[in-house]
């Protein structure tokens, strides 16, 4: 395993009672990479994300981020270390404005003793501008459209200034043009130095985005490599029969 890996997952396993959700997952992500993670529904993708981010505790295996073992660290501590995620179904803070939603990670994840200042306001504006929500900064999340909520979700994840961003199905249910929108956003983030793991079902987006493709089926990793080759792997084809 490489010493310069950003994320190093070794033998990760997770059970829910008798049900094995994840088994022996190995994964290495290098800085600056664009990794795609695909798999049928129920294959364990979201469970994996939750284990990496600390929302769920896994019984087996280790997760190292920038060489540091994450065992025992809570979700907010991992975010502060630079591991961020966006949620599959957007989970904005409903009683805060769009700008305030983005302010929270700036105050809590980036600065240990952060305070609300003109500087943080400027940073909020910058982040909202990046996703195209600058003119909605004073609105409440319930007044946003679907794609705007997705963008807010990504802006909030970016606000914590992550080294690694896990985008969990950020494009689900969006139109063709909206998918391109989000895709461009993620690529721009990556070009800005953020390593991205994209979890998606929309194949054209995943293939366009990923430098490397990982496939999860029934809790196990069955493929990991060049996207074009992985897609032609017979086991992967079988998993997606009918998809």
């Amino acid at each position: 395993m490489s010493d310069t890996a950003l994320l190093q997952v070794r033998g990760l396993g997770k059970r829910f009672g008798g049900f094995v959700a994840l088994e022996a997952i190995d994964l290495v992500v290098l800085p600056g990479e664009r990794v795609g993670l695909i798999g049928p529904n129920g294959s364990g993708k979201s469970t994996l994300v939750n284990c990496l981010c600390g929302t769920l505790r896994h019984e087996l295996g280790t997760v190292r981020f920038e060489g540091r073992d994450l065992a025992g660290l809570k979700a907010h501590e991992r975010t502060r270390l630079g591991l961020a995620r966006s949620f599959q179904l957007p989970r904005p803070f409903g009683s805060l404005t769009v700008a305030e939603n983005v302010l929270v990670p700036i105050l809590y994840a980036v600065q240990a003793r952060g305070h609300h200042t003109a500087e943080t306001d400027a940073r909020c504006a910058e982040l909202l501008g990046m996703v195209g929500l600058a003119d909605k900064s004073r609105k409440l999340p319930r007044d946003l459209t679907q794609i705007e909520m997705r963008k807010l979700e990504l802006a909030r994840a970016m606000a914590s200034e992550p080294r690694l961003l896990i985008a969990d199905e950020a494009m689900a249910g969006l139109s063709h043009g909206e998918v391109d929108d989000i895709l461009a956003l993620l690529i721009r983030m990556n070009e800005g130095g953020v390593t991205v793991i994209m979890i998606e079902h929309i194949m054209r987006a995943v293939l366009h985005f990923s430098q490397r493709l990982v496939v999860l089926v029934a809790g196990r990793k069955i493929a990991d490599g060049n996207p074009q080759e992985v897609v032609r792997n017979p086991e992967v084809e079988r998993a997606y029969l009918g998809e």
Binding site: K74, A75, T79, V104, L107, Y108, V110, G114, H115, H116
Partner: protein, 311 residues
Amino acid sequence: MRTARFLPLILLVAALVFGVARAIDNSYVFFAGYVVLQYIVLAIAWNILGGYTGYVNFGTPAFLAIGAYASVALYKIVPLPIPLLMLIGGVLSGIVGLGTGYLTLRLRGAFFSIATLALSVVVQTLVTNWDFVGGSRGAYIIRPMAAPLIGGGYIDYLCLLMLLLVVLSVVIARAIEHSKLGYGFATIRDDEAAAEASGVPTLRLKLMATTLSGALMGMAGAPLPYYVTYLDPASGFSLTYAVNAIAMPLIGGTASWIGPILGAVILGTVQQLVTVTISSAANLLIVGLILVGFVIVAPNGIVGLVRGWRR
């Protein structure tokens, strides 16, 4: 408005209120006033945890009683000035709040609420079995004749202290609302998992809220024995405190410190009227009905309704 500017303003208002009360040469004003002020503190304190973070505390009587019975116990050993008793009551209740929180706040909010319900019963059991503070028979406190510092009746003095506690509570609540801590609390209420993912140390903040809320309630309870002069578990742990501490912020509005004050004044007045004109039991029934009614029809309280009309 920054706290530095708000503080003298509210102290001025408090001084005015107290001055007017003194001018009306009727001791009933202070007797009734103490109760209302106490409820304002309880409502604001409850709201810091319940309204801001969304964790519902049903055990207000326990925290109030800890302050009250600490005063009773100390009265029997060595009489201390009330401000010191308030400090002690606050510290003790704060510790209990911290402890309860530490054991239950890592789980869902419902478990915390259930634990606070049970806490009330348990603290009451402990006090009832503690003969030193009178057990189930209750304890008598002799109220000093004259008020220190300001002269006049002792009740005036208790009211003044309670008024200052109100000022303290409002300043704290307001400072939280406009601070980074306020944002943190709001994210816990809105979506705790998303809050964690955004870097908010949710457990630590929840413990802060629980401790602070409990401490303020304990401080409100410390002078109580001197007000009632006879304290027994039945009245100290009265369900009225539990329901009012929840009803007042919910009716007034939980989003800001104004709501609990509004709810306390309105509901407090209604209760006084009903108790005097009908009966105290009917009063409780009406409070319960109002609570249920409001919670169904106006879940964000009066402040929420007003904000809704404005938009």
